[in-house]
């Protein structure tokens, strides 16, 4: 029994979802779009050409963002995977997991404000390394919690089985655990990559504005009221995750519930 209004609502939903993306792209091609015009005064490649022509440093920001997010994603995924194993086999596992939740739920920007003193102290302030470390502190607990569900009795019995059959821990890890965890590693990498890719507050504090990731640029353009460049940086910010999502989507929710 199909109700006839459904297709309309579905079309509306698709339009609503598509709208921001289309709007951002169009805005990034526009310029001198003054109220109350419905259409911009200029439409073309101008913004993209000037910006990718490097003078505003947007291309550079894109590269910095990629470097930071890849590092944060990889390091936190792998360390999260390894350490979550130790946590699972620990007898106080519940308490340990609880600890991981503290930095995870605290607003990163507040965390950053209270941490900045220590970052200054150890010379990790205002540089890319510092930002990577700071974002890692937020992404790592996520990874830890995320892999909490991977380790269970079944996995343990696999490990025991390999050990009984004479496998070394090394073999267990590379031949058994890694293949089993492959899809989870992928999602976790994707998620931690995004945590870093989207992060603004913490980055602005630990990076003191010197590490100009894409999110920092978006804010700068909003401050300048330069909406066209702002839209352009938004495009650079949202399309890489869209591509990743396309390849990754069937995994994203697999282990959340």
């Amino acid at each position: 029994m199909k109700v006839s209004w459904k297709p309309y609502i579905l079309t509306l939903i698709v339009l609503l979802i598509g709208f921001p993306f289309i709007f951002m792209v169009l805005l990034s091609f526009s310029s001198s779009w003054r109220f109350p015009d419905i259409l911009p005064g200029y439409f073309g490649l101008k913004n993209w050409v000037t910006i990718l022509g490097s003078e505003t440093g947007l291309l550079q920001s894109f590269i910095i963002s990629v470097v930071i997010s890849l590092s944060v994603g990889m390091v936190s995924t792998f360390s999260g995977f390894l350490i979550s194993r130790a946590v699972f086999y620990h007898k106080r596992r519940r308490i340990l997991t609880l600890f991981a939740y503290f930095p995870y739920v605290l607003a990163p920007v507040v965390f950053g404000a209270c941490l900045s003193f220590f970052f200054l102290k150890i010379g990790l302030f205002g540089n890319v390394t510092g930002v990577i470390v700071a974002q890692f502190l937020v992404a790592f607990p996520y990874a830890l919690i995320f892999f909490g569900s991977f380790w269970n009795k079944k996995i343990k019995s696999y490990e025991d089985l390999v050990a009984t059959l004479g496998g070394t821990p090394r073999q267990t890890f590379f031949k058994v655990l890694l293949p089993l965890a492959k899809s989870m590693l992928l999602i976790c990498f994707f998620q931690t990559f995004l945590i870093s890719w989207f992060e603004y507050g913490l980055t602005s504090i630990i990076g003191v504005g010197k590490v100009q990731t894409l999110t920092i640029k978006v804010f700068l353009f909003i401050k300048e009221a330069n909406y066209y460049y702002g839209a352009l940086s938004c495009c650079l910010l949202i399309f890489p995750p869209v591509v990743l999502l396309y390849f990754n989507k069937r995994y994203v929710f697999k282990n959340l519930v």
């Binding site: 200054l120 150890i122 010379g123 302030f125 009221a225």
Partner: protein, 393 residues
């Protein structure tokens, strides 16, 4: 825990720099990477810095100037944080500041100097001018190098308002006649506007000169808050909120939501009209009891790792070429800090023959309406109290 060591470059001999000749400083500055922290809310200033100053410095002195965003409180916070953590080689070399920031930086001994006497181009700046050598009632004492000078002015749209208000009484009548078209920025320029209101309530343009007076501040600010609270229901958004950025105010004015605005650089409308942001009917005009005229400065932080490089950069910023570029009426349109008469002839001519403003007033026109910056405490208190007494009420 690691100790303080990660970025411990060999420490510059700072006292040596103060005695060094300019040639030595210049040689030391070559090839350095200098970090500068400044307010980045203005596209024209950003454009000037990114597309003129940075490439010029690279070409002329092989200096890499890196600019990061941050104004008053952020700069002070950074300097304070570094001091707390005992960092001797800091993140930032040059800061763009004026009164209230340098006041706080001096409180924590954050500025390095005096250094400006050593800059070759300082000879073109009239250091006897009180508007230049006194920053918020404090002598600059060689610790801050003047960069730009300007006077705040009112702006109105002549197509919408025939007779804009020129004093607080007229403003009161105005907001009732044109509700929703006036507001005060909860930012640096808004506070500057409040200071001139405060002086007006005190009865004269120079009422706030001299040291900070608690008694005077309390008395006048009480009247000011009463005035604002009485009238704010006629302000933009019924006075429930106030814009927090100068750019936001400009946008509101450009969109025609506001009929009145307030801005530095004599209203700062020239570039905005030329670029099409403001309507051609926008005009700047003086406020009867006067508006603040002030200078902004470049300072070097106490723990700046590249002090020689910083000096070279600052000297370039006050060079006739850089100042001329900055003063083009169709460019950044900012008054030069240089004294035209003292310049070499060819530069003096260039400045004199440069195109004049078509829409905005010149600083000269506002001369008799100039008020000195009052002591920094006024600003700091206004920031706090404007929030608690007006915004949150």
């Amino acid at each position: 825990m690691l100790l303080i060591s990660c970025n411990s470059e060999p420490k510059m001999d700072d006292s040596g720099l103060k005695a060094a000749s300019w040639e030595e400083i210049s040689a030391k500055a070559k090839g350095t990477a200098v970090n500068m922290m400044m307010w980045q809310g203005s596209p024209v200033i950003n454009n000037y810095m990114n597309n003129y100053v940075v490439p010029q410095l690279k070409e002329k002195y092989n200096i890499d100037l890196k600019i990061s965003g941050g104004q008053g409180p952020e700069i002070v916070q950074l300097a304070m944080g570094e001091k707390e953590a005992g960092i001797t080689s800091g993140q930032v070399d040059i800061v763009w500041i004026n009164g209230e920031t340098s006041f706080q930086l001096r409180k924590i001994d954050g500025l390095w100097g005096p250094f400006i006497e050593q800059l070759p181009n300082i000879k073109y700046i009239d250091l006897d001018d009180r508007y230049i050598n006194t920053d918020f009632q404090q002598p600059i004492a060689g610790m801050e190098c003047p960069w730009s000078i300007g006077q705040a002015a009112m702006v109105y749209d002549s197509a919408k308002v025939a007779n804009p208000p020129r004093n607080l009484n007229e403003l009161e009548t105005y907001v009732k006649k044109y509700p929703g078209t006036f507001t005060i920025g909860n930012d640096f320029s808004g506070m500057t506007q409040l200071k001139s209101f405060l002086a007006e309530l005190g009865g004269s343009p120079n009422n706030l000169n001299g040291d900070f007076s608690e008694e005077k501040y309390n008395r006048l600010s009480k009247q000011l808050w009463e005035y604002l609270n009485r009238n704010k229901k006629y302000f933009w958004k019924e006075g429930e909120t106030f814009p927090k950025e100068q750019t936001k105010m400009s946008q509101l004015f450009a969109n025609g939501e506001l009929y009145l605005n307030f801005g530095f650089s004599e209203g700062g409308i020239e570039e905005k009209v030329v670029s099409g942001l403001y309507p051609e009917t926008a005009r700047s005009y003086p406020w009867e009891n006067g508006t603040i005229k002030n200078t902004n400065y470049m300072g070097i932080l106490q723990n700046a790792p590249q002090k020689a490089g910083a000096m070279q950069v600052i000297d370039f910023l006050i060079s006739p070429a850089a100042q001329f570029e900055k003063s083009h009426a169709n460019g950044m349109d900012s008054n030069t800090i240089l004294e035209i008469d003292s310049l070499p002839k060819e530069w003096a001519e260039k400045f004199t023959n440069a195109p004049h403003r078509k829409y905005g007033l010149e600083m000269e026109d506002l001369k008799e309406y100039a008020i000195e910056e009052p002591a920094p405490e006024y600003m700091i208190r206004l920031y706090e109290d404007f929030r608690t007494q007006v915004i949150e009420k």
